[in-house]
């Protein structure tokens, strides 16, 4: 019972502000209980010693150092901001340069490799002696092809579906097409009616350019044409003679 009372009194003594006497119950108990009185004396002494520590003063240059620190912080914050802006500007520049580079590459590739549009093939008049126009529409595929095409675009196939018999190529099989009803409007030779093309025999290859008149052109290179021993050799003996003409 007494211990319980001492505990309560000591707790109240602990909560007291230094110098306060406390309640009458505390005062009465301190008069009667020697242990609590000793406790109170020691506690008061301890609190006096701790309280005597006092306040330590800040150094005289405290304000100066604090101002310098704040100024340094604000300037470093500005530096961080500038660094961020600079780095972001560099990033934007790098991205812009990359975009320009990629765009340039695409442009150059577009220029150098124009997209292959639908190929329109126009038959050129075969080099053969008769001037007589072709009457039949269908050319038998078993015959030696007049014009052999490896590939025919779908566009041409669809467009010519009504008038032409189109054999779709499969695995690059030779296809014969009859373009007798559609004659090419333009041929390289100015003499349209003529089937004779003067060719410079010094050329090693024979190139035919076909144009469907809609802007689609195809150039076909043929290997060097020879007729065995009859290969035409340009003769320069007579400059008025037509060069490289064969019949």
């Amino acid at each position: 019972m007494k211990e319980r009372q001492c505990e309560v009194i000591r707790r109240e003594l602990d909560d007291l502000t230094l110098g306060d006497e406390g309640s009458t119950a505390v005062t009465q108990h301190l008069r009667e209980c020697g242990e609590c009185r000793e406790f109170h004396q020691k506690q008061t002494r301890l609190r006096q010693i701790v309280g005597s520590l006092g306040t330590v003063e800040a150094p005289p240059d405290f304000d100066f150092r604090l101002r310098a620190r704040l100024a340094n912080e604000s300037s470093s914050a500005g530096f961080h901001l500038r660094a961020f802006q600079w780095s972001s500007a560099k990033g934007f520049a790098a991205v812009a340069m990359l975009l320009v580079f990629v765009g340039g590459v695409v442009y150059v590739r577009t220029i150098s490799n124009p997209p292959a549009g639908p190929v329109a093939v126009q038959r050129e008049e075969p080099v053969k002696p008769p001037v007589k126009p072709v009457e039949d529409k269908v050319v038998a595929p078993v015959q030696p092809p007049q014009v052999a095409l490896n590939e025919v675009s779908d566009t041409v196939a669809r467009k010519g579906r009504g008038t032409e018999r189109v054999v779709r190529p499969q695995k690059r099989t030779p296809v014969s097409m009859d373009f007798s009803s559609e004659r090419a409007e333009t041929i390289s030779n100015s003499s349209r009616q003529s089937t004779i093309f003067p060719i410079d025999a010094s050329q090693q290859s024979f190139t035919v350019s076909l144009d469907d008149g809609r802007g689609n052109a195809r150039t076909i290179s043929l290997p060097t044409i020879s007729f065995g021993s009859q290969r035409v050799i340009p003769t320069r003996a007579n400059q008025f003679t037509q060069k490289g003409v064969w019949y």
Binding site: L46, I49, V56
Partner: protein, 213 residues
């Protein structure tokens, strides 16, 4: 022109003016002025609290130079967070809370550093506390002033051995003279916990300061 008709009006007039004057120079008003860019207002706040905060952190850490640095860091944080400050607490509570957190953080850093410190080599084989490299001279001094100084050093060292959760409330109560309510707000705990921790801290100190009591 207003004329005083009773003695009561004469008695109440000056306190009203005093209240208005105090309000313009209160901590809240100074921080509000700081928020708007008034550097002088912040300088006034610093001059009000620099010694208290430096002293408090010094009592917590027992290192004057470190305490000055942490006190400056406290003011830097107050300045940085001036726009986020809320007037729900007293400014003193706010700044002491920042200082307490900084001091406790410093004590924890020291505790981690202590693991590899040289004091480990001087630890006694019986498992008792390690001796310091520069142990205090426990011989009694002649002059009473020196005796007081020695007693203060002893109590400072004894406080330094307290766990941080007991150290802060004890210093705030017995050195700084703060109320239990304010200490509870600073430490963000209940008033009962504060009282309990202070009682435990005094018990520890009584044991360590037995020779001086």
């Amino acid at each position: 022109m207003n004329t005083l008709t009773t003695i009561d009006e004469l008695a109440f007039a000056p306190p009203l003016q005093q209240e208005v004057l105090e309000d313009t120079t209160s901590d809240h008003a100074l921080l509000e002025a700081t928020r708007t860019g008034d550097q002088d207002a912040f300088a006034e706040l610093v001059s009000r609290y620099r010694n208290q905060i430096t002293s408090y952190i010094y009592r917590m850490t027992s290192d004057y130079d470190g305490a000055v640095d942490l006190a400056q860091e406290t003011f830097v944080r107050v300045y940085r967070a001036r726009d986020r400050y809320q007037r729900s607490y007293a400014f003193s509570t706010y700044i002491y809370r920042i200082a307490t957190n900084l001091a406790i953080s410093e004590l924890r850093k020291r505790k981690r550093r202590k693991l590899v410190s040289l004091t480990g080599f001087f630890q006694q084989s019986d498992g008792s506390e390690p001796q310091e490299l520069n142990p205090p001279d426990l011989r009694p001094l002649q002059d009473s002033e020196l005796v007081d100084a020695e007693r203060r050093n002893a109590v400072q060292r004894a406080i330094g051995t307290l766990p941080e959760k007991y150290r802060a409330p004890l210093i705030l109560r017995d050195v700084e003279g703060r109320s239990y309510d304010e200490i509870a707000k600073i430490l963000e705990t209940s008033e009962g916990t504060v009282k309990s921790r202070i009682s435990r801290a005094r018990g520890f100190l009584r044991e360590k300061m037995r020779a001086y009591l």
